[in-house]
């Protein structure tokens, strides 16, 4: 009998949706191992104190986003609408993943994710390098791969000589901290972003996309973002639907592009929570013509760079007039598209993204565990996983025996609720990875 465990935030829809798909396939409800518990255990007891896994157990890692306590543990920032702390978040999250997957593998469990691949997926520079190296079409970038020079601030951005481009925090997601920058004749500069700064210079994600029109303002923002690592990417002129630029979120499960949504926006950020709207998939397919196959194939080739990962969400950028395509990003936790069923011909018709993953598991096409991914992934920090003792540096770990909480050997098993499948669809907000999880609305903080 297949037994699944989900490492996630138990209150999150993602966990409930996956659990519902598992049960719908006639399998026992998965146990849920909360990230909060994993992180606290690592902090207080180190990797040796992690809960044990059962041999043959299938382990799915899900997003640690949208939970304030988890957010605080990962980047020491109280207000989850803040932009800063990406580098710390990355170090702690990938460290926790390595420790946890090391434990799971030592116990004989099987992973649907790969720690090295996750470390690449959560570093846009590395991800770009891997895709580019595999011949997947991507926008040009001067920060591609582990060998690229770091961007220390606006001066480095200027020196890159790009005309219209994106500045992206290396470890951000869902447009957090992203600037769409245009430079032109006579030193004209304009940046469109959801970042807002308060009087003390703190940066927040705002649901209101705004423009900064002076080089001084743009430089100050970039300089403030730079310490957490920046990725630069040339603008890729996208196709339009009506008067909105569009891109596609394509979910690839076990190598096949199964689900797709069109996101259309008047702002450079197509994320649905930033004013983007769902576009018309059938219309896009028609507009694409023969390029549709090229597009899906690019998504599948992008996903193939991560063979140890069962499911990724690929941001596919159709060029103006569908004359070409490029892959924008590959998202590790890009499957939150509730109730969306598979597109015709994708092999998951009638199933949601979670159902498609469970089906792949049952078919035997899911990753078999630590794959051949390591060589391709090219992560900056070679993995230390696979070692059951889990000598993984976990930032903030305090090896204080007195502080170790009692953790049951099997981990605390929480059955997920019946799931909020009837919840509002509008929450497919484009916050598909949830790092960090919160956005400021007008006046009030909005949890997305």
């Amino acid at each position: 009998m297949i037994r699944c465990t989900v490492v996630g935030n138990p209150e999150n829809r993602r966990v409930a949706l996956f659990a519902a798909a598992v049960r719908a396939a006639g399998l026992p409800a998965p146990r849920v191992l909360p990230w909060l518990e994993v992180l606290r255990t690592l902090r207080d007891g180190g990797p040796g104190a992690l809960p044990r896994f059962r041999p043959g157990e299938i382990v799915r890692l899900d997003s640690p986003g949208e939970n304030d306590e988890v957010g605080v543990l990962l980047r020491d920032v109280e207000d989850q609408t803040r932009v800063e702390g990406g580098a710390l978040w990355y170090a702690r999250f990938t460290g926790a993943v390595r420790a946890l997957t090391g434990r799971a593998l030592a116990d004989g469990a099987r992973l649907l994710d790969d720690p090295d691949e996750l470390a690449v997926l959560f570093d846009k520079r590395l991800c770009h390098g891997v895709l580019s190296g595999a011949g997947v079409p991507v926008p040009r970038s001067p920060t591609s791969g582990p060998g690229a020079p770091p961007v220390r601030g606006w001066d480095d951005v200027r020196a890159a000589g790009l005309g219209r481009f994106f500045v992206k925090p290396a470890h951000g997601s869902s447009a957090s901290g992203v600037l769409a920058v245009q430079t032109g004749a006579g030193g004209r500069v304009r940046a469109v972003t959801s970042v807002e700064r308060d009087g003390q210079g703190h940066m927040y994600n705002s649901l209101r996309v705004r423009a900064y029109d002076t080089e001084t303002e743009v430089a100050a923002l970039v300089d403030a973002l730079a310490p957490d690592g920046l990725h630069l990417e040339s603008w890729w002129p996208k196709a339009a639907q009506g008067n909105r630029a569009m891109d596609l979120r394509v979910v690839v499960v076990a190598g096949r592009a199964t689900h797709a949504v069109v996101r259309a926006s008047r702002s450079p950020m197509t994320n649905l929570h930033l004013g983007g709207v769902r576009g018309d998939l059938a219309e896009a397919r028609e507009a694409a013509g023969p390029m549709w196959e090229t597009a899906m194939s690019a998504c599948e080739r992008a996903a193939a760079c991560f063979p140890g990962t069962l499911c990724v969400g690929v941001d596919l950028l159709p060029g103006t007039g569908w004359r070409g395509v490029a892959v924008g990003e590959v998202n590790a936790f890009g499957d939150l598209l509730p109730r969306l069923t598979g597109m015709p011909g994708g092999g998951a018709e009638g199933l949601d993204t979670y159902g498609a993953q469970v089906a792949a598991l049952l078919r035997g096409t899911a990753p078999r565990g630590r794959g051949a991914a390591t060589a391709q992934a090219g992560a900056r920090e070679p993995a230390g996983a696979g070692d059951a003792s889990g000598a993984v540096p976990v930032a903030g770990a305090v090896p204080d025996a007195d502080a170790v909480e009692s953790v049951p050997a099997s981990g605390s098993v929480r059955a997920p609720g019946s799931g909020d499948m009837a919840g509002p669809v509008a929450e497919e907000s484009g916050v598909l990875c949830g790092v960090p999880g919160a956005w400021r609305g007008s006046g009030t903080d909005v949890e997305k």
Binding site: G163, R164, Q182, G184, G186, S234, A240, A245
Partner: protein, 326 residues
Amino acid sequence: MSHYHHLTEFHGLPVREFGGPEADHTEVTDHGAVAWRLSVEPYGATEDFGSRFARFRETVELERTSALIVGQWDKSGVDPSEVLRLLEENRDRLPSLRALFLGEIVAEEQEISWITQSDVTCLLTAFPRLTELRLRGGHGLGLQPVRHESLRHLIIETGGLGGDVVRALGACQLTALERLVLWLGEEEYGATVNAEDLTGILAGTHLPALRHLGLRNSEIQNEIAERVAVAPVVARLTTLDLSMGVLDDSGAAALLEGQSLAHLHGIDLSYHFLSEEMAERFATAMAAVGVAADLSEPQDGEECACDVDGAEECDCAEFRYPAVGE
């Protein structure tokens, strides 16, 4: 909407992108039966405009080319003087050229106010048989007064148009011009045009054949409407287009109170800030004299960004913008 999509047809011909070295045009048997489109990929350039034009010149029967579209010639900030030089140099090899679109660049490629143009007078002097000229982008655009006896359609789309260009147009002798469309834009995006600059055009002295006038996408749309309401040129028009701008009740009232518009076939005020009452009044008045009035796309204006909680008053109750700026 044209500003967001590349044209598929121009000058009555299907558009054909010339493309990079890998492009194959062997199935285009009649090189005069398509509108050729030349552009480069500024965000992943493999070939610059000069090289692409050189291949174009080698590959295509230039003599038969009647319609040409030029898309992005470089990244933003670079003017098209190289493009103009190449066209001018090859004028004798382009005897059939009738229609030219310089700057067919959609918003995703470059927002309209980031397109850098240059003085385009040489296009009119080098191609006296041109019947259709379309330009996009107002930054750096220049024009000197000239006489041209073939041009029937002139369209200049900008997020901000210079007053000097508008004055020069008013001084041009465009004896065949039937259709003149200007997107005037806003100061924020480089517009220096004021209502006074329109005097020459609105007098119509040098535009004897004009049938359609579009003065669109302006932040001074009301002032324009006031001028148009008493402009001599209106008598010879069949259609008038004051759409896409910040037109409100005062501009519409000026039109109702001005000269008769009853001879027009249609008037386009779409994308406007008219009150429902005024829109109704205007529609009724036009219907009564058999003029088709387009009052679609009513706008509300954006709420102001000021924090009005507790503030005594905010004098920017709403922001109003023309349809295309940035």
